[in-house]
């Protein structure tokens, strides 16, 4: 079987051996993602800002399903709800669904290079956004502006970059003669 060659934007190919991840590193990335989400923003920045925590959860659900699954995602969602002062349980539901989607599709997604993973991730993020929209509108909230759908798309575009960053510490060190 031929896999596409790993380029700068390619993922670690399935045969490539990654080091095992340090759980503290996972925790740190969750914290950074959370900070990215609660950082104050206004106007255009607010519109364009993706849900960093969702992206990080998605990454770890795909790469390390034994550490991060539906339960962890749900709890992080609760933390996000408290930090965000929105409806309690809204992010929890969205992240749980996201984690489930990641668990369901992860074998498939991993086979693609990062830039081809992006649209698949985008669909997952959009489904989540739509779910939150549905829950809030049923609860009596007005429909938000169309810009509501921009942030999941930005998230998908950021996926290759974010994956590379999160993968960095696990990359094996190569001997100088290789490549």
């Amino acid at each position: 079987m031929n896999y596409p060659r790993a380029t700068t934007f390619g993922s670690a190919r399935p045969e490539e051996i990654l080091r095992s991840v340090n759980p503290w590193f996972i925790l740190l990335t969750f914290f950074l993602g959370f900070l990215g989400n609660v950082a104050p923003a206004a106007g255009l920045t607010l519109m364009l800002r993706p849900d960093f925590l969702a992206l990080v959860i998605l990454y770890w659900c795909i790469q390390e399903p034994r550490y991060v699954g539906v339960g962890v995602a749900w709890m992080l969602g609760l933390v996000m709800d408290v930090g965000d002062a929105t409806l309690f349980g809204q992010h929890a539901l969205a992240y749980a669904v996201l984690a489930y989607g990641a668990e369901y599709f992860r074998r498939r997604v991993q086979r693609f290079p990062l830039w081809q993973q992006a649209p698949q991730v985008g669909v997952l993020l959009l489904v989540c956004a739509a779910l939150v929209l549905l829950v809030r509108v049923v609860g009596g909230a007005p429909l938000p502006r169309w810009t509501y759908m921009v942030s999941p798309i930005v998230g998908a575009l950021l996926w290759p970059l974010l994956s590379m960053l999160l993968q960095w510490p696990q990359r094996p060190t190569r001997s100088p003669g290789e490549r």
Partner: protein, 310 residues
């Protein structure tokens, strides 16, 4: 100890992995829905939010700092030219408003005398607190902003917030060092208003982001025209009377409908101005008369009034 591991390798199926993801999703999904329901109905989370806000505040400020520093540096090196232009524009503005300022002292004296004659209370008894907007609320479904003063400045929930052009909104949650302000454009946020030209009273309802607020339940024959200015009427005891709120944009009088469809444009620019004023508690009217103690008494007085009136 670092072990080298194949990425796509899963633990062999004979390891116990707990319930299936779908079961877990169903469990946590139902739990979330229950939480959301409970939050909407009982609002039991305010305490947790207070604590979370205190913990988060330093973090948020820390994240904000690089941006602020950049802005400060940019402002420091801002060209002399812009400053000179600004200065000239401000001087011009000063001249333009000079007549009204000069007339202000005499008007104030006159007003005070008239008020004394009428034995009215001065309009703004309570103090006002100047606040700075920290950031916009992240929830895209609501219209909220956060300001930099809270219980430390004696701000209380329910107080009115204005800017130099008009009413911005109302304080809805107060944290130790910041407060949440719900804008007048938030869905179903109501402000009792009076039309400046005709004196007709109405209620101004927000409609959510990107939709013009409305004056609901107005008869098609109501004396309201486009470009009418709307001021707070003060009958709710939250907003002091006489603050500018909005300008009427469109009036549709469809005879087939029970009510006219009137949209308005808020005057205050919550998205533009970065400094706001929170009007203290005393600013609004005096408190309501005490409620009758039990439901029976209330009914009786209600009926009594009706009889007297009729």
């Amino acid at each position: 100890m670092r072990t080298i591991r194949h990425v796509s390798a899963d633990p062999p199926p004979f390891f116990h992995r707990g319930p299936s993801p779908l079961t877990r999703l169903a469990f946590f999904g139902l739990l979330s829905i229950a939480l959301m329901f409970a939050d909407t109905r009982y609002r039991y989370l305010e305490g947790i939010r207070q604590v979370a806000a205190v913990v988060l505040y330093p973090l948020q400020r820390a994240v904000q700092m690089p941006g602020e520093a950049l802005g400060w540096v940019a402002a420091y090196f801002g060209s002399k030219r812009t400053l000179a232009d600004d200065n000239a524009a401000l001087k011009q503005e000063l001249v333009v408003i000079a007549p009204s300022v000069q007339g202000f002292a005499s008007l104030r004296d006159e007003n005070a005398k008239l008020r004394a004659l009428l034995e009215m209370r001065t309009r703004y008894r309570g103090g006002a607190t100047a606040v700075e907007v920290l950031y916009t609320g992240r929830d895209p479904f609501t219209q909220k902003i956060f300001v930099n003063r809270g219980t430390d400045a004696g701000i209380k929930a329910g107080e009115a917030v204005i800017d130099e052009l008009g009413v911005v909104g109302q304080v809805t949650r107060v944290f130790p060092m910041m407060a949440e302000v719900t804008l007048v454009t938030d869905k179903d946020h109501a402000v009792p208003v009076r039309v400046e030209r005709s004196g007709v009273r109405s209620v101004f309802f927000g409609a959510g982001a990107g939709r013009p607020p409305e004056l609901r339940f107005m008869a098609p024959s109501a004396d309201i025209q486009p470009r009418d200015k709307l001021y707070t009427s003060g009958i709710d005891g939250t907003y002091p009377p006489g603050l500018a709120v909005a300008q009427v944009e469109t009036v549709e009088r469809d005879t087939g409908q029970v009510f006219a469809r009137i949209t308005a444009r808020p005057l205050a620019g919550a998205d533009r101005s970065s400094y706001l004023l929170v009007l203290g508690e005393g600013a609004a009217q005096m408190s309501r008369p005490e409620e009758p103690v039990d439901a029976n008494a209330e009914k009786k007085t209600g009926r009594g009034k009706g009889r007297r009136g009729g």
